[in-house]
């Protein structure tokens, strides 16, 4: 088991719908989420000890765009505040670690991204190696295509398997009011669609999405004071693989295997897994690397294939899992967030219900 200095729980969470286009600013998108979680805990905003956000200036299309986002979190008079140029799940990780020092009680976490104004393929290609990858525009969808082809070549999956992930995700999303895409789709119909990135078809890839999410986490005593139904964060771990895709085994995820070991994933039942499956083949790799069997409900929310606001989508996985546990759909589960192309970086977060 993981040994923590301080037990930490999620006491409030909120998310926007996944919008195909949110026609207002990023702060205007975040603000209702922040207001909702502050209202849920019933605190004065300035009594929250630490504030941290995750977002990406490349998506916002403005240097220091994250500074503008502070408009949404209520930072005047000045608050103790930080930012990660990562998905909000990493903001949660920093907040969780910050609480371990035991001197503060509460953290406001948010994540936000608007993909619709720009081209995420062009923007995220700038996060690759600046000498040998970025100048040829090596984009995340291409790297997902490599991963899909590698799975097929290794005999580990077929295009039909990818389509089955899509069909199941879209069917699950019918019950998710925040989903952007949902519905009953037959595997044969999906396979009849043209390729956009052979061997990937349009719905093997995420929709273009805008969205935000926020959460309040607290140390144990404070968590019980703020919530009747806290959801405990038992462990978080983040592992990275090479940024050179040719040096990786793209059909496996050693970083997920290590993270799963470190968070003690199988020290208890895994009722639910909310996974950042940005491209359908990733679910096949993640299920295998996490050692999941038929007892685990995978992406009951529908997952990122049905709504993928980058920089909020990982934090949203944690929220979807927390909601499911708070609702009693399961007692223990894992949320997964990813960064970089083709599952290059992976974060796992184990949540457990009260009692």
């Amino acid at each position: 088991m993981v040994s923590l200095a301080e037990d930490v729980a999620i006491v409030a969470f909120a998310q926007t719908a996944s919008h195909a286009h949110f026609n207002d600013s990023e702060p205007a998108m975040i603000m209702p989420c922040v207001n909702s979680v502050i209202e849920q805990v019933g605190m004065d905003r300035h009594d929250i000890d630490f504030t941290i956000a995750g977002s990406c200036d490349y998506l916002s299309g403005m240097p220091f765009a994250f500074v503008m986002n502070i408009d949404a979190v209520g930072a005047w008079p000045p608050v103790y505040e930080s930012h990660v140029e990562m998905d909000g799940a990493w903001a949660l990780f920093e907040g969780f670690v910050r609480l371990q020092s035991g001197d503060i009680d509460t953290v406001l976490v948010s994540g936000s991204g608007k993909c619709s104004p720009g081209s995420y393929r062009e923007g995220f290609s700038l996060q690759t190696d600046p000498y040998v990858h970025a100048p040829i525009g090596l984009d995340p969808r291409t790297q997902a295509g490599f991963q899909a082809q590698a799975l097929i070549a290794a005999g580990k999956a077929t295009e039909r398997d990818f389509a089955e992930v899509v069909a199941r995700s879209h069917a699950n999303a019918k019950a998710n009011p925040y989903a952007q895409l949902s519905g009953d789709r037959s595997v044969d119909d999906l396979l009849a669609e043209p390729y956009v990135q052979q061997p990937l078809r349009r719905l093997d890839c995420p929709p273009t999405s805008d969205g935000a999410a926020a959460m309040v986490i607290a140390r144990a005593d404070k968590a019980r004071e703020l919530s009747d139904n806290p959801v405990w964060i038992r462990a978080v771990d983040h592992r990275i693989e090479s940024h050179h895709p040719t040096l990786r085994d793209l059909t496996d995820s050693p970083s997920v295997r290590i993270a799963a070991e470190r968070v003690g994933l199988h020290d208890g039942p895994v009722d639910i897994a909310e996974l950042t499956v940005t491209y359908s083949p990733e679910e096949i790799i993640l299920r295998d690397a996490l050692g999941l069997n038929g007892d685990t409900a995978v992406n009951p929310s529908g997952g990122p294939l049905t709504g993928s606001p980058f920089m909020a989508v990982g934090l949203t996985r944690v929220i979807e899992l927390a909601r499911a546990i708070a609702n009693g759909d399961g007692r223990r589960g894992v949320a997964h967030a990813s960064s970089g192309p083709a599952l290059q970086q992976n974060l796992l977060c184990v949540l457990e219900g009260d009692g």
């Binding site: 207002d24 702060p27 905003r45 765009a65 081209s119 000498y131 040998v132 984009d139 082809q149």
Partner: protein, 331 residues
């Protein structure tokens, strides 16, 4: 009459980077029509690296020519190239293990737009662009049978710096409050937003009051005076960075319009020198003729009251407002 427009711009910067002892020779080689790998124990790495990817131990530069032929180990077909890709027609991206190398290079394969020509195990060969700058984009690959003989004239100096023009394309409608503000300028009006919580008036509105964390809408909008007070100013001496269009010094000031609580910053003053500017000075916006106004410089990120809507800011002749009364608004 001038119309509103969608936001459509490219945010662009040239990034220059030093190349170091391994990537430098590699890029020099590409410029000169050769592909180099780095020795790492019994292996050859291409792309070359300054460290052993397994142990992370530093490698002494030890480069060896590889290719120009190689084998495709993995591939994916790019049916819809992005503006940053090496080709504007469909092509294959591939893992290419060059002859003599033990690791694969990611690069583009041009099959004339035919995905059927791609396969794992296919032989490809490097082709060099006629214009080369010491960049990974100096080279691309074609099926071996399509390769042409090339005579490459080597360059003079080794490549020690790379320049990469990065760009982000942004295309979106003006946000509703920005559209109403911009339309106001075309109509010769300055539109602000009054906080329903504090009553403070912000110009231009952002669609929310960040002090009270409350969203604002058209119902909160008010037309404000076109007369205001200078609360801050500075002289800009244009540095000739990439994309700079200004050449001569000019004044930029912040004006607190009457009845508002937040100055409009970044207003350009072209007909007064910095010596003629004073904090507290009263100015009136003199609009351009309606058909001469344009708000194309306003997007969702930048642009307040651009000089494309006004002819000048003219001193009213009123006594200055004491600077002490403006302390709250000096930005």
């Amino acid at each position: 009459m001038p119309q509103l427009h969608d936001v459509d711009y490219t945010l662009e910067y040239p990034y220059t980077r030093t190349t170091g002892p391994v990537i430098g020779p590699f890029l020099t080689g590409l410029r000169d029509g050769r592909i180099l790998g780095q020795r790492c124990g019994h292996r050859v790495l291409c792309p070359p690296m300054e460290f052993d990817p397994d142990t992370f131990a530093t490698l002494e530069p030890d480069l060896v020519e590889v290719g120009p032929g190689g084998e495709v180990e993995n591939w994916t077909w790019v049916g819809e190239p992005s503006a940053k890709h090496p080709f504007d027609r469909p092509f294959g991206f591939a893992f290419i293990k060059l002859d003599g190398a033990d690791t694969a290079l990611v690069h583009a394969v041009d099959t004339g737009g035919d995905p059927e020509a791609m396969s794992t195990g296919m032989r490809v060969q490097a082709q060099f662009r006629s214009e080369r700058h010491g960049s990974i984009a100096d080279v691309y690959f074609v099926p071996e049978a399509d390769a042409a003989e090339q005579m490459i004239e080597p360059g003079d100096e080794p490549v020690t710096i790379t320049e990469h023009l990065i760009g982000l394309r942004i295309n979106e409608p003006l946000h509703p409050h920005r559209a109403r503000f911009a339309q106001g300028l075309l109509d010769g009006k300055i539109i602000g937003q009054r906080s329903p919580v504090t009553g403070k008036v912000y110009v231009p509105g952002r669609g929310y009051d960040n002090m009270s964390r409350v969203l604002m809408s058209e119902a909160d909008e008010v037309e404000v005076s076109n007369v205001g007070t200078v609360v801050a100013f500075t002289e800009l001496n244009p540095v000739q960075y990439y994309g700079q269009t200004e050449t001569e010094p000019y004044v930029r000031c912040s004006i607190l319009f009457d009845g508002t609580d937040q100055p409009v910053i970044g207003i350009d003053i072209r007909d007064m020198t910095v010596d003629e500017m004073r904090v507290g000075m009263r100015l009136r916006c003199i609009w351009r003729d309606p058909e001469d106004r344009s708000v194309t410089d306003i997007d969702n990120r930048y642009g307040n009251i651009p000089e494309t809507v006004y002819a000048r800011f003219k001193p009213t002749g009123e006594p200055d407002v004491p600077a002490d009364e403006l302390k709250e608004h000096s930005w």
